[in-house]
Subunit: 328 residues, 2 copies
């Protein structure tokens, strides 16, 4: 009827609860006779005993669960989750999925976790940083937007955007628009900032296309933009997902990529390579970001007193056929 407990096993094997723990946890530092071990294993088997994770967590003080604070589960997050899951599972940890966008403050109802990994949470992290630090929960933030007061693995998208813009200019693009969520209201998001400063630095105007943060929005957004302002020579997109929407919108208009409009994305999701015009994109070193992020979190969980852990990785511009070749 009820799930068997450790004591049920102990009773059946005629030993104490303690012995059961030692044996089933495979402790080799304590000596217990083969006979006893065997009896215990047999009893556990017979009862179908499974240790109670919760009780163990309460007793030891750690759950071996980390929370992943993610937003909408885009292809980018799927990638991040893939790598993070591998890291975590490989080290005996599990991942709990939170939705940063849904709850007012994920801190209020933080699950039974030993640590938190926040991915790409610009505004959010900023607002709640104090609380995060105050609760002394091991916390690492991964992504383009990072804050000095937590452990972080940053990505220098600024550099990535610069490379992309330079490449567009080098291939003869004059009007370069930026497509992102919210258009020119995109605030201090690193990519938008870099785009803006690059343009202004070159004495060029900035032009924003509002994607509403989705593929479908990007598709519509680019059509409206072109209808209103004519076609730019190139469009830099906030991410690959939105870039596919922009791509589709351009095709809807009968515009050729890259001959009429060059297109650049960001992230490096697999899908971007499979378009009819494989997408030139700013590839984030996602695997490395995750590996390092895990390493940081894991070290912090082991030793909360560790000095700050920081890294900033460089993205890589992958040139594909959605942009033109540099003239030789």
């Amino acid at each position: 009827m009820k799930r068997p407990t450790r004591n049920d096993v102990a009773r059946l094997a005629e030993v104490s609860g303690w012995t059961v723990s030692q044996v089933l946890n495979g402790r080799s530092d304590v000596s217990i006779t083969e006979a006893t071990r065997a009896r215990i294993h047999a009893a556990a088997e017979e009862l179908g005993y499974r240790p109670n994770h919760t009780a163990r967590a309460l007793a030891t003080g750690n759950t071996h669960i980390v929370s992943l604070w993610a937003g909408r589960l885009s292809p980018f997050y799927a990638l991040v989750l893939t790598h993070l899951r591998r890291e975590a599972h490989g080290h005996g940890y599990r991942i709990l999925i939170s939705d940063i966008e849904e709850s007012a403050s994920p801190l209020a109802s933080l699950g039974p976790v030993d640590g938190v990994i926040a991915v790409e949470h610009a505004e959010w992290a900023h607002n709640y940083l104090d609380q995060v630090n105050h609760m002394r929960m091991p916390f690492v933030s991964i992504g383009a937007y990072y804050l000095a007061d937590t452990d972080y693995v940053g990505v220098d998208l600024n550099g990535g955007v610069r490379d992309a813009m330079d490449h567009l200019v080098a291939t003869g693009c004059r009007r370069i628009a930026y497509a992102c969520t919210g258009g020119d209201a995109s605030g201090d998001e690193p990519r938008a900032v870099s785009y803006r400063s690059h343009r202004l630095g070159a004495g060029q105007p900035v032009e924003f296309i509002d994607t509403c943060g989705s593929r479908a929005g990007a598709r519509v957004g680019v059509r409206e933009f072109v209808a209103a302002h004519g076609r730019p020579d190139a469009i830099l997109c906030h991410n690959d997902e939105q870039a596919t929407g922009v791509y589709r919108g351009l095709r809807d208009l009968g515009l050729n990529v890259p001959d009429e409009v060059s297109l650049v994305g960001c992230d490096g999701i697999e899908e971007a390579e499979y378009l009819d015009r494989p997408l030139t994109t700013i590839v984030q070193p996602i695997e490395e970001m995750c590996a390092l992020g895990w390493a940081y979190l894991s070290a912090r969980m082991r030793n909360p007193a560790l000095p700050p852990q920081h890294a900033v990785l460089r993205p890589r511009l992958s040139l594909r056929s959605s942009t033109r070749d540099v003239a030789v």
Copy 2:
């Protein structure tokens, strides 16, 4: 230094631990003076008290966490996870991600969960079903492959494949190949079975393309297939993701979709609509699957003695331009 406990709050507010519980859990069925309530809230606030999820779980017997057994985090899983996360969070539950393919038996180390949702786990579910049932853990399986002995939300991909095949035949396709992981070794996977029986029923040969389960594999696989056997009139793919790989492979060969080769996918991921030739696909009613799956699991967690809960949903063939129009 240490995280404050309920007793710390009690001490500070000069009440008992019990009172703190009642107040902070917002119990309205017990009468406590406003003054006491206020003192307790103030004390909790001052200490930065957060209830300990683990201790509560141990005391109440449930964790409000459910495990999602998923395989590789493909775009399809991202969709499933999106909907499932919404359902779970909306009901005060969290989701723990497991990797079915990695661990020998996820049962061995089932986390601190109240229930399990398994998505698309054909072979696996089959092998471990006994154990699942034996441990009396609320369990619902979602997907094309389902087993009578657990709660499930099935999808009649058999019907979906039939519709797709009929449509291909109606648009003049004779040779229709099936692209999937492992090629003709795909065993009893429902789509493969339906394809096979449809072909054989029509007195036609079956032809398999091995995708190795990935986009890249599909791309290469289709090229090798065409090199060896010439081009089929149509290719039905195990899922949309692999279909994009096949699409790319066909473009590599300079073959036109759908004029030379019609293409059909399965799942209904967003990306499939954004190809240059939007993909005709068997759309799974993912949102409904997840909503119903959650409803089943949640009912089962509330009452383990409930009679079996079953449903089989129908997918919908979405006709887009990767297949030809039916002649009028």
